[in-house]
Symmetry: C2
Subunit: 222 residues, 2 copies
DNA sequence: ATCGCTTAAATTGTCGACAATATAAGCCAA
DNA sequence: TTGGCTTATATTGTCGACAATTTAAGCGAT
Protein backbone atom coordinates (compact mmCIF):
# COMPACT_ATOMS: atom_id res chain seq x y z
CA UNK A 1 0.00 0.00 0.00
CA UNK A 2 1.70 3.12 -1.22
CA UNK A 3 0.80 5.73 1.43
CA UNK A 4 0.85 8.53 -1.09
CA UNK A 5 -1.21 7.33 -3.98
CA UNK A 6 -3.43 4.76 -2.32
CA UNK A 7 -6.07 5.02 0.35
CA UNK A 8 -6.53 2.75 3.33
CA UNK A 9 -9.44 0.48 2.56
CA UNK A 10 -9.29 -2.52 4.82
CA UNK A 11 -9.44 -2.53 8.60
CA UNK A 12 -5.87 -3.75 8.71
CA UNK A 13 -4.83 -0.72 6.66
CA UNK A 14 -6.40 1.74 9.08
CA UNK A 15 -5.10 -0.11 12.11
CA UNK A 16 -1.62 -0.17 10.61
CA UNK A 17 -1.65 3.58 9.91
CA UNK A 18 -3.02 4.33 13.38
CA UNK A 19 -0.49 2.07 15.07
CA UNK A 20 2.38 3.55 13.11
CA UNK A 21 1.26 7.04 14.01
CA UNK A 22 0.92 6.16 17.68
CA UNK A 23 4.44 4.73 17.70
CA UNK A 24 6.03 7.60 15.77
CA UNK A 25 4.31 10.16 17.97
CA UNK A 26 5.40 8.37 21.10
CA UNK A 27 1.85 7.65 22.18
CA UNK A 28 3.15 4.12 22.52
CA UNK A 29 6.46 4.40 24.34
CA UNK A 30 9.70 3.43 22.64
CA UNK A 31 10.97 0.10 23.89
CA UNK A 32 7.57 -0.94 25.25
CA UNK A 33 5.94 -4.25 24.50
CA UNK A 34 3.03 -4.52 22.10
CA UNK A 35 0.31 -6.75 23.52
CA UNK A 36 -1.88 -8.07 20.77
CA UNK A 37 -4.89 -8.28 23.06
CA UNK A 38 -4.44 -4.74 24.35
CA UNK A 39 -4.13 -3.32 20.86
CA UNK A 40 -7.15 -5.31 19.73
CA UNK A 41 -9.17 -3.67 22.48
CA UNK A 42 -7.69 -0.23 21.92
CA UNK A 43 -8.45 -0.20 18.22
CA UNK A 44 -11.63 -2.27 18.51
CA UNK A 45 -10.61 -4.91 16.01
CA UNK A 46 -9.77 -8.58 16.18
CA UNK A 47 -6.34 -9.91 17.02
CA UNK A 48 -5.88 -11.06 13.44
CA UNK A 49 -5.86 -7.53 12.05
CA UNK A 50 -3.65 -6.37 14.91
CA UNK A 51 -1.16 -9.06 14.01
CA UNK A 52 -1.18 -7.93 10.41
CA UNK A 53 -0.72 -4.32 11.48
CA UNK A 54 2.21 -5.31 13.69
CA UNK A 55 3.77 -7.20 10.81
CA UNK A 56 3.62 -4.09 8.70
CA UNK A 57 5.13 -1.74 11.23
CA UNK A 58 7.85 -4.33 11.60
CA UNK A 59 8.52 -3.81 7.90
CA UNK A 60 9.12 -0.12 8.70
CA UNK A 61 11.68 -1.21 11.30
CA UNK A 62 9.58 0.45 14.00
CA UNK A 63 9.13 -2.73 16.03
CA UNK A 64 11.01 -5.99 16.46
CA UNK A 65 9.34 -9.34 16.84
CA UNK A 66 10.51 -12.53 18.46
CA UNK A 67 8.78 -15.84 17.97
CA UNK A 68 6.44 -16.83 20.80
CA UNK A 69 7.43 -13.73 22.72
CA UNK A 70 5.94 -10.78 20.95
CA UNK A 71 6.79 -7.42 19.47
CA UNK A 72 8.54 -4.48 21.08
CA UNK A 73 8.80 -0.93 19.86
CA UNK A 74 12.40 -0.24 18.91
CA UNK A 75 14.62 1.62 21.35
CA UNK A 76 15.92 5.05 20.38
CA UNK A 77 19.62 4.89 21.07
CA UNK A 78 22.10 7.44 19.71
CA UNK A 79 23.99 4.57 18.05
CA UNK A 80 20.94 3.48 16.11
CA UNK A 81 20.29 7.07 15.09
CA UNK A 82 23.77 7.26 13.61
CA UNK A 83 23.40 3.99 11.75
CA UNK A 84 20.03 5.12 10.46
CA UNK A 85 21.48 8.35 9.14
CA UNK A 86 24.31 6.48 7.48
CA UNK A 87 21.76 4.51 5.51
CA UNK A 88 19.83 7.66 4.79
CA UNK A 89 22.94 9.44 3.56
CA UNK A 90 23.66 6.57 1.22
CA UNK A 91 20.17 6.24 -0.21
CA UNK A 92 19.28 9.90 -0.48
CA UNK A 93 22.63 10.63 -2.02
CA UNK A 94 21.79 8.16 -4.75
CA UNK A 95 18.31 9.68 -5.00
CA UNK A 96 19.80 13.11 -5.63
CA UNK A 97 22.11 11.66 -8.27
CA UNK A 98 19.26 9.97 -10.06
CA UNK A 99 17.01 13.00 -9.68
CA UNK A 100 19.60 15.09 -11.52
CA UNK A 101 19.38 12.62 -14.36
CA UNK A 102 15.70 11.81 -14.38
CA UNK A 103 13.62 14.73 -13.13
CA UNK A 104 11.66 16.51 -15.82
CA UNK A 105 12.24 20.19 -16.45
CA UNK A 106 8.79 20.95 -15.06
CA UNK A 107 9.54 19.07 -11.86
CA UNK A 108 12.75 21.00 -11.43
CA UNK A 109 10.89 24.28 -11.95
CA UNK A 110 8.41 23.23 -9.27
CA UNK A 111 11.28 22.38 -6.96
CA UNK A 112 12.76 25.84 -7.41
CA UNK A 113 9.38 27.45 -6.76
CA UNK A 114 9.05 25.41 -3.61
CA UNK A 115 12.37 26.75 -2.35
CA UNK A 116 11.34 30.31 -3.14
CA UNK A 117 8.11 30.01 -1.22
CA UNK A 118 9.98 28.30 1.57
CA UNK A 119 12.42 31.19 1.73
CA UNK A 120 9.61 33.69 2.09
CA UNK A 121 8.06 31.66 4.86
CA UNK A 122 11.33 31.54 6.74
CA UNK A 123 12.00 35.24 6.28
CA UNK A 124 8.55 36.17 7.53
CA UNK A 125 9.43 34.51 10.81
CA UNK A 126 6.98 31.67 10.62
CA UNK A 127 8.60 28.53 11.89
CA UNK A 128 6.05 25.80 12.01
CA UNK A 129 6.20 25.16 8.30
CA UNK A 130 9.87 24.32 8.49
CA UNK A 131 9.73 20.62 9.00
CA UNK A 132 6.95 20.19 6.48
CA UNK A 133 8.96 22.22 4.00
CA UNK A 134 12.08 20.23 4.65
CA UNK A 135 10.27 16.93 4.29
CA UNK A 136 8.61 18.17 1.11
CA UNK A 137 11.95 19.13 -0.41
CA UNK A 138 13.56 15.79 0.27
CA UNK A 139 10.43 14.01 -0.75
CA UNK A 140 10.37 15.58 -4.20
CA UNK A 141 13.94 14.61 -4.85
CA UNK A 142 13.28 11.06 -3.74
CA UNK A 143 10.34 10.81 -6.11
CA UNK A 144 12.42 12.55 -8.77
CA UNK A 145 14.84 9.62 -8.73
CA UNK A 146 12.16 7.62 -10.55
CA UNK A 147 13.57 4.53 -8.88
CA UNK A 148 10.75 2.46 -7.39
CA UNK A 149 12.93 0.48 -5.01
CA UNK A 150 14.61 3.58 -3.71
CA UNK A 151 11.33 5.41 -3.28
CA UNK A 152 9.74 2.53 -1.40
CA UNK A 153 12.68 2.05 0.94
CA UNK A 154 12.86 5.70 1.86
CA UNK A 155 9.21 6.70 2.09
CA UNK A 156 7.80 3.49 3.51
CA UNK A 157 10.79 2.43 5.55
CA UNK A 158 13.29 4.91 6.80
CA UNK A 159 11.35 8.14 6.91
CA UNK A 160 8.95 7.07 9.62
CA UNK A 161 11.85 6.05 11.80
CA UNK A 162 13.51 9.40 11.26
CA UNK A 163 10.29 11.16 12.15
CA UNK A 164 10.07 9.05 15.28
CA UNK A 165 13.47 10.28 16.41
CA UNK A 166 12.60 13.87 15.55
CA UNK A 167 9.33 13.83 17.43
CA UNK A 168 10.40 11.93 20.50
CA UNK A 169 13.78 13.53 20.98
CA UNK A 170 12.13 16.92 20.59
CA UNK A 171 13.99 18.10 17.55
CA UNK A 172 12.40 21.16 15.99
CA UNK A 173 12.89 20.38 12.34
CA UNK A 174 16.25 20.81 10.64
CA UNK A 175 18.78 23.57 11.22
CA UNK A 176 16.85 26.34 9.64
CA UNK A 177 18.97 28.91 7.89
CA UNK A 178 22.03 26.91 6.99
CA UNK A 179 19.97 23.95 5.83
CA UNK A 180 18.10 26.21 3.48
CA UNK A 181 21.27 27.25 1.67
CA UNK A 182 22.24 23.63 1.35
CA UNK A 183 18.88 22.89 -0.19
CA UNK A 184 19.47 25.63 -2.72
CA UNK A 185 22.84 24.23 -3.70
CA UNK A 186 21.41 20.77 -4.16
CA UNK A 187 18.55 22.06 -6.27
CA UNK A 188 20.96 24.06 -8.37
CA UNK A 189 23.13 21.02 -9.01
CA UNK A 190 20.03 19.09 -10.08
CA UNK A 191 18.97 21.94 -12.35
CA UNK A 192 22.44 21.85 -13.90
CA UNK A 193 22.02 18.10 -14.40
CA UNK A 194 25.22 17.60 -12.41
CA UNK A 195 24.48 14.19 -10.91
CA UNK A 196 27.87 13.78 -9.30
CA UNK A 197 27.67 17.09 -7.45
CA UNK A 198 24.04 16.60 -6.47
CA UNK A 199 24.94 13.34 -4.73
CA UNK A 200 27.92 14.84 -2.94
CA UNK A 201 25.97 17.85 -1.72
CA UNK A 202 23.05 15.76 -0.55
CA UNK A 203 25.34 13.44 1.36
CA UNK A 204 27.07 16.36 3.01
CA UNK A 205 23.75 17.92 3.85
CA UNK A 206 22.53 14.79 5.59
CA UNK A 207 25.89 14.33 7.31
CA UNK A 208 25.65 17.85 8.72
CA UNK A 209 22.15 17.15 9.92
CA UNK A 210 23.34 13.99 11.64
CA UNK A 211 26.19 15.76 13.37
CA UNK A 212 23.80 18.43 14.51
CA UNK A 213 21.45 15.82 15.97
CA UNK A 214 24.28 13.95 17.64
CA UNK A 215 25.44 17.18 19.26
CA UNK A 216 21.96 17.89 20.54
CA UNK A 217 21.72 14.41 21.96
CA UNK A 218 24.95 14.89 23.88
CA UNK A 219 23.76 18.21 25.23
CA UNK A 220 20.50 16.70 26.41
CA UNK A 221 22.35 13.87 28.07
CA UNK A 222 24.51 16.25 30.11
CA UNK B 1 13.85 -13.31 12.20
CA UNK B 2 17.48 -12.96 11.23
CA UNK B 3 18.03 -15.80 8.77
CA UNK B 4 21.65 -16.17 9.77
CA UNK B 5 21.64 -16.33 13.51
CA UNK B 6 18.11 -17.52 14.21
CA UNK B 7 16.32 -20.74 13.39
CA UNK B 8 12.82 -21.10 12.02
CA UNK B 9 10.64 -22.17 14.90
CA UNK B 10 7.05 -21.46 14.04
CA UNK B 11 5.09 -22.87 11.14
CA UNK B 12 4.88 -19.41 9.62
CA UNK B 13 8.69 -19.24 9.70
CA UNK B 14 9.11 -22.45 7.75
CA UNK B 15 6.35 -21.58 5.32
CA UNK B 16 7.93 -18.18 4.75
CA UNK B 17 11.35 -19.67 4.06
CA UNK B 18 9.89 -22.30 1.75
CA UNK B 19 7.77 -19.78 -0.11
CA UNK B 20 10.67 -17.41 -0.51
CA UNK B 21 12.84 -20.22 -1.84
CA UNK B 22 10.16 -21.33 -4.28
CA UNK B 23 9.84 -17.79 -5.59
CA UNK B 24 13.56 -17.12 -5.84
CA UNK B 25 14.16 -20.44 -7.58
CA UNK B 26 11.34 -19.78 -10.01
CA UNK B 27 9.34 -22.75 -8.82
CA UNK B 28 6.56 -20.22 -8.56
CA UNK B 29 6.67 -18.22 -11.78
CA UNK B 30 7.51 -14.52 -11.75
CA UNK B 31 4.44 -12.41 -12.27
CA UNK B 32 2.07 -15.19 -11.26
CA UNK B 33 -0.69 -14.80 -8.73
CA UNK B 34 -0.41 -16.25 -5.26
CA UNK B 35 -3.63 -17.97 -4.25
CA UNK B 36 -3.86 -18.27 -0.48
CA UNK B 37 -5.94 -21.42 -0.70
CA UNK B 38 -3.57 -23.08 -3.14
CA UNK B 39 -0.54 -22.29 -1.03
CA UNK B 40 -2.32 -23.50 2.09
CA UNK B 41 -2.87 -26.85 0.39
CA UNK B 42 0.61 -26.97 -1.09
CA UNK B 43 2.35 -26.36 2.21
CA UNK B 44 -0.28 -28.16 4.32
CA UNK B 45 -0.93 -25.26 6.66
CA UNK B 46 -3.84 -22.98 7.34
CA UNK B 47 -4.54 -19.83 5.38
CA UNK B 48 -3.54 -17.72 8.36
CA UNK B 49 0.08 -18.83 8.25
CA UNK B 50 0.11 -18.50 4.47
CA UNK B 51 -1.05 -14.93 4.83
CA UNK B 52 1.72 -14.23 7.30
CA UNK B 53 4.27 -15.85 5.00
CA UNK B 54 3.04 -13.74 2.10
CA UNK B 55 3.31 -10.61 4.23
CA UNK B 56 6.92 -11.43 4.93
CA UNK B 57 7.94 -12.12 1.36
CA UNK B 58 6.28 -8.82 0.55
CA UNK B 59 8.76 -7.25 2.96
CA UNK B 60 11.55 -8.68 0.78
CA UNK B 61 9.93 -6.96 -2.22
CA UNK B 62 9.44 -10.35 -3.84
CA UNK B 63 5.66 -9.98 -4.15
CA UNK B 64 3.22 -7.10 -4.35
CA UNK B 65 -0.16 -7.10 -2.69
CA UNK B 66 -3.34 -5.23 -3.48
CA UNK B 67 -6.25 -5.00 -1.09
CA UNK B 68 -9.08 -7.41 -1.79
CA UNK B 69 -7.27 -8.66 -4.87
CA UNK B 70 -4.28 -10.65 -3.72
CA UNK B 71 -0.54 -10.95 -4.10
CA UNK B 72 1.50 -11.38 -7.27
CA UNK B 73 5.11 -12.36 -7.63
CA UNK B 74 7.05 -9.37 -8.93
CA UNK B 75 7.91 -9.21 -12.61
CA UNK B 76 11.56 -9.37 -13.65
CA UNK B 77 11.99 -6.47 -16.03
CA UNK B 78 15.39 -5.12 -17.08
CA UNK B 79 14.31 -1.70 -15.76
CA UNK B 80 13.66 -3.07 -12.30
CA UNK B 81 16.98 -4.88 -12.38
CA UNK B 82 18.73 -1.59 -13.05
CA UNK B 83 16.89 0.22 -10.27
CA UNK B 84 17.66 -2.65 -7.92
CA UNK B 85 21.35 -2.46 -8.70
CA UNK B 86 21.35 1.29 -8.20
CA UNK B 87 20.11 0.73 -4.68
CA UNK B 88 22.60 -2.05 -4.18
CA UNK B 89 25.44 0.14 -5.39
CA UNK B 90 24.44 2.82 -2.95
CA UNK B 91 24.06 0.57 0.09
CA UNK B 92 27.00 -1.73 -0.49
CA UNK B 93 29.20 1.24 -1.23
CA UNK B 94 28.34 2.57 2.19
CA UNK B 95 28.87 -0.89 3.66
CA UNK B 96 32.40 -1.01 2.23
CA UNK B 97 33.10 2.46 3.63
CA UNK B 98 31.92 1.46 7.09
CA UNK B 99 33.69 -1.89 6.90
CA UNK B 100 36.97 -0.08 6.32
CA UNK B 101 36.33 1.83 9.52
CA UNK B 102 34.77 -0.84 11.70
CA UNK B 103 36.05 -4.29 10.77
CA UNK B 104 38.40 -5.82 13.29
CA UNK B 105 41.91 -6.78 12.25
CA UNK B 106 40.99 -10.43 12.64
CA UNK B 107 38.00 -10.06 10.38
CA UNK B 108 40.17 -8.41 7.74
CA UNK B 109 42.68 -11.26 7.99
CA UNK B 110 39.86 -13.74 7.48
CA UNK B 111 38.67 -11.77 4.48
CA UNK B 112 42.13 -11.95 2.91
CA UNK B 113 42.31 -15.67 3.56
CA UNK B 114 38.93 -16.11 1.94
CA UNK B 115 40.20 -14.38 -1.18
CA UNK B 116 43.32 -16.57 -1.27
CA UNK B 117 41.29 -19.76 -1.04
CA UNK B 118 38.93 -18.39 -3.62
CA UNK B 119 41.83 -17.70 -5.94
CA UNK B 120 43.04 -21.29 -5.67
CA UNK B 121 39.58 -22.60 -6.41
CA UNK B 122 39.35 -20.45 -9.50
CA UNK B 123 42.82 -21.42 -10.71
CA UNK B 124 42.14 -25.10 -10.27
CA UNK B 125 39.33 -24.74 -12.76
CA UNK B 126 36.44 -25.42 -10.44
CA UNK B 127 33.59 -23.10 -11.17
CA UNK B 128 30.66 -24.04 -9.05
CA UNK B 129 32.03 -22.35 -5.96
CA UNK B 130 32.09 -19.02 -7.72
CA UNK B 131 28.71 -17.66 -6.78
CA UNK B 132 28.98 -18.91 -3.21
CA UNK B 133 32.40 -17.32 -2.96
CA UNK B 134 31.17 -14.06 -4.39
CA UNK B 135 28.19 -13.96 -2.06
CA UNK B 136 30.44 -14.80 0.87
CA UNK B 137 32.80 -11.97 0.05
CA UNK B 138 30.08 -9.37 -0.17
CA UNK B 139 28.38 -10.82 2.84
CA UNK B 140 31.40 -10.39 5.07
CA UNK B 141 31.81 -6.79 4.09
CA UNK B 142 28.16 -6.12 4.75
CA UNK B 143 28.45 -7.63 8.22
CA UNK B 144 31.73 -5.78 8.68
CA UNK B 145 29.90 -2.48 8.40
CA UNK B 146 28.50 -3.19 11.88
CA UNK B 147 25.45 -1.19 10.88
CA UNK B 148 22.29 -3.08 11.83
CA UNK B 149 19.98 -1.19 9.51
CA UNK B 150 22.29 -1.64 6.58
CA UNK B 151 22.78 -5.32 7.30
CA UNK B 152 19.06 -5.96 7.59
CA UNK B 153 18.19 -4.10 4.41
CA UNK B 154 20.77 -5.93 2.34
CA UNK B 155 20.60 -9.47 3.70
CA UNK B 156 16.87 -9.66 4.36
CA UNK B 157 15.70 -7.41 1.59
CA UNK B 158 17.73 -6.87 -1.52
CA UNK B 159 19.84 -9.98 -1.71
CA UNK B 160 17.00 -12.39 -2.28
CA UNK B 161 15.75 -10.26 -5.12
CA UNK B 162 19.20 -10.24 -6.68
CA UNK B 163 19.42 -13.98 -6.35
CA UNK B 164 16.02 -14.27 -8.00
CA UNK B 165 17.30 -12.40 -11.04
CA UNK B 166 20.48 -14.46 -11.13
CA UNK B 167 18.70 -17.78 -10.93
CA UNK B 168 15.81 -17.07 -13.27
CA UNK B 169 17.72 -15.16 -15.91
CA UNK B 170 20.30 -17.92 -15.89
CA UNK B 171 23.31 -15.91 -14.88
CA UNK B 172 26.26 -18.02 -13.93
CA UNK B 173 27.58 -16.08 -10.98
CA UNK B 174 29.63 -12.93 -11.44
CA UNK B 175 32.20 -12.27 -14.14
CA UNK B 176 34.86 -14.56 -12.85
CA UNK B 177 38.38 -13.37 -13.44
CA UNK B 178 37.91 -9.63 -13.59
CA UNK B 179 35.56 -9.64 -10.60
CA UNK B 180 38.18 -11.39 -8.56
CA UNK B 181 40.72 -8.63 -9.08
CA UNK B 182 38.11 -6.09 -8.09
CA UNK B 183 37.49 -8.02 -4.92
CA UNK B 184 41.18 -7.90 -4.13
CA UNK B 185 41.32 -4.15 -4.60
CA UNK B 186 38.36 -3.62 -2.34
CA UNK B 187 39.80 -5.86 0.35
CA UNK B 188 43.11 -4.05 0.11
CA UNK B 189 41.44 -0.68 0.56
CA UNK B 190 39.67 -2.00 3.62
CA UNK B 191 42.91 -3.40 4.99
CA UNK B 192 44.46 0.04 4.48
CA UNK B 193 41.50 1.54 6.35
CA UNK B 194 40.87 3.74 3.34
CA UNK B 195 37.10 4.15 3.68
CA UNK B 196 36.77 6.59 0.81
CA UNK B 197 38.51 4.31 -1.67
CA UNK B 198 36.72 1.21 -0.43
CA UNK B 199 33.39 2.83 -1.17
CA UNK B 200 34.42 4.02 -4.61
CA UNK B 201 35.81 0.63 -5.61
CA UNK B 202 32.78 -1.23 -4.34
CA UNK B 203 30.46 1.05 -6.25
CA UNK B 204 32.45 0.61 -9.41
CA UNK B 205 32.51 -3.12 -8.90
CA UNK B 206 28.73 -3.29 -8.61
CA UNK B 207 28.30 -0.90 -11.52
CA UNK B 208 30.43 -3.17 -13.73
CA UNK B 209 28.39 -6.15 -12.65
CA UNK B 210 25.20 -4.34 -13.54
CA UNK B 211 26.48 -3.36 -16.98
CA UNK B 212 27.51 -6.94 -17.55
CA UNK B 213 24.05 -8.19 -16.63
CA UNK B 214 22.36 -5.57 -18.78
CA UNK B 215 24.47 -6.62 -21.74
CA UNK B 216 23.57 -10.25 -21.21
CA UNK B 217 19.91 -9.34 -21.04
CA UNK B 218 20.12 -7.55 -24.34
CA UNK B 219 21.90 -10.49 -25.95
CA UNK B 220 19.25 -12.90 -24.72
CA UNK B 221 16.52 -10.65 -26.04
CA UNK B 222 17.98 -10.65 -29.53
C1' DA C 1 -23.09 -8.76 -32.02
C1' DT C 2 -22.02 -5.56 -28.30
C1' DC C 3 -22.75 -3.15 -24.26
C1' DG C 4 -24.57 -2.86 -19.72
C1' DC C 5 -26.78 -4.82 -15.80
C1' DT C 6 -27.74 -8.67 -12.64
C1' DT C 7 -26.44 -12.66 -10.51
C1' DA C 8 -23.26 -16.48 -9.17
C1' DA C 9 -18.69 -18.12 -7.99
C1' DA C 10 -14.31 -17.58 -6.15
C1' DT C 11 -11.01 -15.03 -3.37
C1' DT C 12 -9.65 -12.13 0.24
C1' DG C 13 -10.72 -9.99 4.85
C1' DT C 14 -12.24 -10.66 9.57
C1' DC C 15 -13.50 -13.01 13.57
C1' DG C 16 -13.66 -16.03 17.82
C1' DA C 17 -11.98 -20.36 19.78
C1' DC C 18 -8.47 -23.65 20.74
C1' DA C 19 -3.46 -25.25 20.99
C1' DA C 20 1.34 -24.36 21.96
C1' DT C 21 4.75 -21.71 24.08
C1' DA C 22 6.75 -18.52 27.30
C1' DT C 23 6.48 -15.98 31.60
C1' DA C 24 5.35 -15.61 36.47
C1' DA C 25 4.18 -17.56 40.86
C1' DG C 26 4.58 -20.80 44.29
C1' DC C 27 6.81 -24.45 46.56
C1' DC C 28 10.35 -27.46 48.27
C1' DA C 29 15.03 -28.57 49.38
C1' DA C 30 19.64 -27.30 50.58
C1' DT D 1 17.63 -16.93 51.97
C1' DT D 2 18.51 -18.86 47.65
C1' DG D 3 18.41 -21.91 43.99
C1' DG D 4 15.99 -24.97 41.15
C1' DC D 5 11.80 -27.36 40.04
C1' DT D 6 6.70 -27.56 39.36
C1' DT D 7 2.58 -25.51 38.51
C1' DA D 8 -0.49 -21.74 37.06
C1' DT D 9 -1.29 -17.84 34.18
C1' DA D 10 -0.90 -15.04 30.35
C1' DT D 11 0.50 -14.38 25.59
C1' DT D 12 1.36 -15.83 21.08
C1' DG D 13 0.52 -19.26 17.26
C1' DT D 14 -2.81 -21.80 14.55
C1' DC D 15 -7.09 -23.13 12.86
C1' DG D 16 -11.78 -23.34 10.59
C1' DA D 17 -15.93 -20.68 9.68
C1' DC D 18 -18.26 -16.58 8.25
C1' DA D 19 -18.50 -11.81 6.04
C1' DA D 20 -17.13 -8.57 2.47
C1' DT D 21 -15.29 -7.71 -1.90
C1' DT D 22 -13.85 -8.71 -6.41
C1' DT D 23 -14.14 -11.23 -10.59
C1' DA D 24 -16.54 -14.10 -13.91
C1' DA D 25 -20.68 -15.64 -16.00
C1' DG D 26 -25.16 -15.16 -17.69
C1' DC D 27 -28.82 -12.59 -19.56
C1' DG D 28 -31.40 -9.10 -21.71
C1' DA D 29 -31.83 -4.72 -24.32
C1' DT D 30 -30.49 -1.89 -28.09
Amino acid sequence: MNPVTEQPVTAADKTFLQLRKDIVDGKIAAGSKLSETDLANRYAVSRAVVREAINRVETCHLVERRANVGARVVALSPERLVSLYQVRESLEGMAARLAAENMSDDEITDLMNLLDSHLQTVQSGETYYQEAGDVDFHYRIILGSKNDHLIAMLTEGIYHLIRMYRVQLGMAGPRVTTAFDEHRSIAQAIANRDAELAEILMRRHILYTRNNLAKKLLEDAS
